[in-house]
């Protein structure tokens, strides 16, 4: 069979695009090189919905960010993804930086950001008592928020699949034949034919474009390192606290997450290896030091984990979204670095518009499209009576697997059985939070492996941490 559209890359942009396309009468396939969705930048970023004052006025980044920020609350409601409109603060530590935040304010106005305000030291301290006494003032952007980026990607994919999109994991595209009416994509999981291709391949999107004869852009891979701190210090700040931006990005932030942790980071280091998500001693030390500049009481003693995410920085410094000059049936969605998450809902819209332009017409609507993704069971958030009822219906919800986050066996089974569900330990973790707490899977890790093996009907030593060769166990003991 030949798909109408193949989307390469199941990051947040690809997944949101797949979801939007599922509202049309189109045969769409979402191809992902990894064993799960959200395995690139979408699982490892600042988890921020930016207000939209950072990007230069007139750029795609500024337009899509402001629009995406407005769309995000409604989309998160439809997809049952936790979103919090906590507002952000860019803190100025010197007179020069007070000038900078005024410039940011002016740029925000030009970009169409509403609900911004420059606040003085007193008001800043009222809003954030733990902020550094060195802070002189701040730009408050009330429209900014926080969201869980991988949960958004997972939910969008689930919703897309429920509405008819095919999802293929472990299907990295290795070469392409243009057969005139359609492309034949050679993937690790077999050939896939599609009339149109959307290139949303994140850090690999320049390589993918090249397979189609498009070498019009180049990406620089920029690594950003973070610490995640324990929930016991999750309310150290309530807003997302930025420092003044530099040429390399928006600097080190301190922010609560929707799950109640505190997140600090990122660094910004250009690297050569597109798959090198290693953290470095130097990077983590930089995060620690600079986070304390904003919020002196932040301590990495409370760290439960650290990670690095890779951003696809385009040399043009703006998102590349549109029909490729090299092949008009290829739509690029590339160079999506920050504010890519914030922009994702708006980017998906723009990508679809480009696709429809390439197709020559907007396709018919899928009348059966249901924008709602049913909220997964979240045992920890339920009342006692809700819990009683749930366990009566299915006793698996009465068995706690992850003690730190109070995650039940029922939730883990749900995450595996969901559309485009979990196939590995990290996939279960991202969908349910099992293993995300302070013991980091010390107790529940082996139980999750058992449940995966049972539900997927696989030997226990074939279960991986995140696909590929990341198996957890070797052979049986002697």
């Amino acid at each position: 069979m030949c798909y109408d559209v193949a989307i390469i890359g199941a990051g947040v942009t690809g997944a949101m695009t797949a979801r939007l396309l599922s509202s049309y009468k189109l045969k769409t396939v979402l191809l992902e090189k990894a064993n799960d969705v959200a395995m690139g930048a979408s699982k490892a970023n600042s988890a921020i919905v930016h207000a939209g004052f950072d990007a230069k006025t007139g750029t795609l980044k500024s337009k899509l960010n402001v629009e995406g920020c407005r769309m995000m609350p409604e989309i998160c409601r439809e997809l049952s993804v936790p979103y919090k409109n906590n507002g952000s603060l860019v803190v100025a530590f010197s007179d020069e930086e007070l000038v900078t935040i005024q410039e940011l304010y002016d740029r925000g106005v030009a970009n169409g950001v509403d609900r911004m305000e420059i606040i003085d030291q007193k008001k800043l301290r009222e809003l954030e008592p733990n902020i550094s006494p060195e802070a002189k003032g701040a730009l408050l952007a009330a429209s900014a928020g926080i969201v869980c980026p991988y949960e958004l990607t997972i939910a969008a994919t689930e919703n897309a699949v429920s509405n008819g999109v095919a999802f293929q994991r472990n299907a990295g595209v290795t070469s392409v034949d243009d057969l005139g009416d359609f492309f034949r994509l050679h993937t690790a999981a077999g050939d896939v034919d599609a009339k149109y291709v959307i290139n949303a391949a994140g850090c690999a999107s320049d390589d993918i474009a090249r397979l189609f004869g498009d070498d019009s852009f180049k990406l620089i891979i920029r690594s950003g390192e973070y610490y995640v701190l324990d929930r016991s210090v999750g309310n150290t700040v309530s807003h997302t606290i930025f420092q003044c931006p530099s040429a390399m990005g928006k600097g080190i932030l301190v922010t609560p997450t929707v799950d109640g942790n505190l997140l600090i980071g990122p660094t910004a280091t250009d690297i050569d290896d597109k798959e090198n998500t290693a953290t470095t001693a130097k990077g983590l030390e930089t995060v620690r030091r600079l986070a304390m500049k904003s919020v002196p009481c932040v301590s990495t003693r409370d760290a439960i984990t650290s990670f690095a995410g890779l951003r696809a920085h385009p040399t043009s410094d703006d998102f590349i979204i549109g029909i490729s000059d090299a092949n008009h049936r290829l739509i690029n969605a590339a160079g999506i670095e920050s504010p890519g998450l914030s922009s994702a809902p708006a980017s998906a819209k723009m990508i679809c518009e480009a696709l429809f332009e390439a197709m020559g017409a907007e396709p018919a609507k899928n009348e059966a499209f249901n924008p709602i993704r049913k909220e997964p069971v979240r045992f920890r958030h339920l009342s006692d009576s809700e819990r009683e009822k749930l366990i009566q219906e299915n006793p698996a919800y009465g068995r706690i697997i992850c003690r730190c986050e109070t995650i039940t066996e029922g939730e883990i089974i749900d995450s595996i059985k969901a559309p485009a569900g979990a196939r590995d330990v990290d996939g279960v973790k991202r969908r349910t939070r099992a293993g995300m707490g302070r013991c980091q899977g010390g107790f529940c890790g082996s139980k999750v492996v058992e449940i995966l093996a049972r539900e997927l009907d696989l030997p226990i030593n074939e279960i991986t941490k995140f696909g590929g060769g990341s198996n957890i166990l070797f052979d049986k003991t002697k």
Binding site: Y227, V228, E275, N276, T277, A278, T279, T280, A281, G283, L284, T300, A303, I304, T305, S306, F307, D384, R387, E388, I391, Q392, P395, A396, G398, R399, I400, R403, C404, T406, R438, C439, Q440, G441, G442, F443, G445, S446, E450, I460, N461, T464, K465, F466, G468, G469, S470, N471, I472, L473, F474, D475, K476, T477, K478
Partner: protein
């Protein structure tokens, strides 16, 4: 709502000993709530021997040691709920628990014994740089894979941290045919028992690299190697000492943390050093009727001491249930730790106590030919010579009843280490 005289949270060695002691003291309705499928706690996966030398005077494996208590519990009318997770304990001692059979359980207990044990410090707490490959796990998780599930979690292994579980796993993995390349220890001394260093490392020619740590992990999917380095006396990496070690598994044995999430929920005060509750010699916390014992109170070196401590808590809980007079008349002073002593359990002692009180403590460094000195109001009560004192081994000293009889509410009781000249 179920009504019990005593609810014990945790069915490991501590919980079982506390419940049995309370039963022996005449407490009627007792329930043990255990989150695992069976009683026994972590002992179930500790198939090596070395348990019971102090308590039973014989050398048992973990399951054997636990088995003796499980048997005793079975022979009483103590109720046991396994596969049952306690979700919350209110400040009124109301327990909410959950399991598959009963759904939510609400238990109103006159007294509660906290015996939840401890967990291992994970990689994240260490900030080791590098990749997130599979093959990085705590020694206890690896122990479960090998001993319970029967699968090899690794073949070429580096162990970071010389805590007892790490040492035990070095031997275990070697016996299973894996190559244990080394045990790295950040400190200049091991945190484990001397006997484990001899029997688990020396006997198998596994090098123990002191003042050495793992600074980076390598490998994108499965772990391929680690970078180790020497550290100076401040724990800072000495540049130029970095060395790459090929391995497919990094096991961590870098400390245990008492699992006090429920304890915090009740509002019980915790000791910043032990990370366990502040308790009296009866092992009562500062929340009336709530007692704590075992590794949730302080990380023990030997299970025998866990049992003994749990019996104190069980007895304390029994008195609380049966006759509160001793609690109402109690007058507490704080125990204080002097030179070389990191903490003391109990943190508070009742000066109206008619019996000897044992103070348990750990030292902060290795001492040779030092003395353990107990002082009351500045007067030396006892001074005991010790050939060796090490942070890995729990020590104790007894405050005799006749000394307690002379104490007042302004008195001080102090334990310190006197180093040899």
């Amino acid at each position: 709502m179920l009504k019990y005289d005593l609810a014990v949270v945790g069915g490991g060695p501590a919980g079982m000993a506390a419940a049995l002691k309370a039963k022996e003291c005449g407490v009627k309705k007792i329930i043990i709530l255990e989150r695992a499928e069976t009683l026994g706690g972590i002992l179930e996966q500790c198939i090596h021997t070395g348990f019971g030398l102090h308590y039973f005077g014989e050398e048992l494996s973990g399951p054997e040691y636990a088995g003796r208590f499980i048997e005793q519990v079975r022979n009483t009318d103590i109720d046991v709920k396994t596969d049952t997770m306690v979700l919350d304990i209110s400040d009124k001692n109301l327990i909410t628990a959950v399991n598959k059979q009963d759904g939510l359980l609400h238990i109103d207990a006159t007294a509660v014994v906290l015996a939840m044990g401890c967990r291992e410090r994970p990689r994240g707490a260490l900030s080791i740089a590098g990749t997130r490959a599979s093959g990085i796990m705590t020694a206890g998780t690896a122990q479960k894979y090998v001993n319970i599930d029967g699968y090899m979690p690794g073949k070429k292994i580096v162990i970071l941290g010389s805590g007892d579980i790490g040492l035990i796993m070095a031997r275990r993995m070697t016996l299973e045919g894996a190559e244990v390349k080394m045990v790295c220890e950040l400190m200049p001394y091991s945190g484990g028992l001397t006997r484990n260093i001899v029997q688990c490392l020396n006997d198998f020619n596994i090098p123990l690299k002191l003042s050495t740590t793992v600074i980076e992990t390598h490998g994108k999917e499965r772990l391929e190697g680690v970078t180790i380095a020497k550290v100076d006396e401040h724990g800072q990496v000495i540049d130029g000492t970095q060395e790459y070690v090929a391995c497919d598994t990094l096991m961590l044995s870098v400390g245990l943390i008492p699992e006090n999430e429920l304890t915090k929920g009740i509002g019980v005060s915790l000791d910043p050093v032990t990370k366990g509750a502040v308790v009296t010699e009866m092992r009562e916390t500062d929340h009336p009727g709530v007692f704590a014992c075992g590794n949730v109170l302080q990380v023990h070196d030997l299970v025998d001491y866990v049992t003994m401590e749990a019996q104190m808590a069980g007895q304390g809980a029994a008195s609380y249930i049966q006759d509160r007079e001793v609690f109402e008349n109690a007058e507490y002073i704080s125990t204080s730790h002097g030179n070389g002593v990191r903490y003391i359990v109990p943190q508070k002692m009742n000066i109206r106590s008619k019996e000897d009180i044992k103070l348990y403590f750990r030292v902060g460094a290795v001492y040779k030919n030092a003395k353990v000195v107990l002082e009351a109001d500045g007067t030396i009560i006892s001074s005991k010579k010790k050939v060796k004192l090490a942070p890995g081994e729990m020590e104790n000293v007894t405050v005799p009843a006749d000394v307690i009889a002379k104490l007042t509410k302004d008195s001080t009781i102090c334990v310190r280490v006197e180093e040899s000249q």
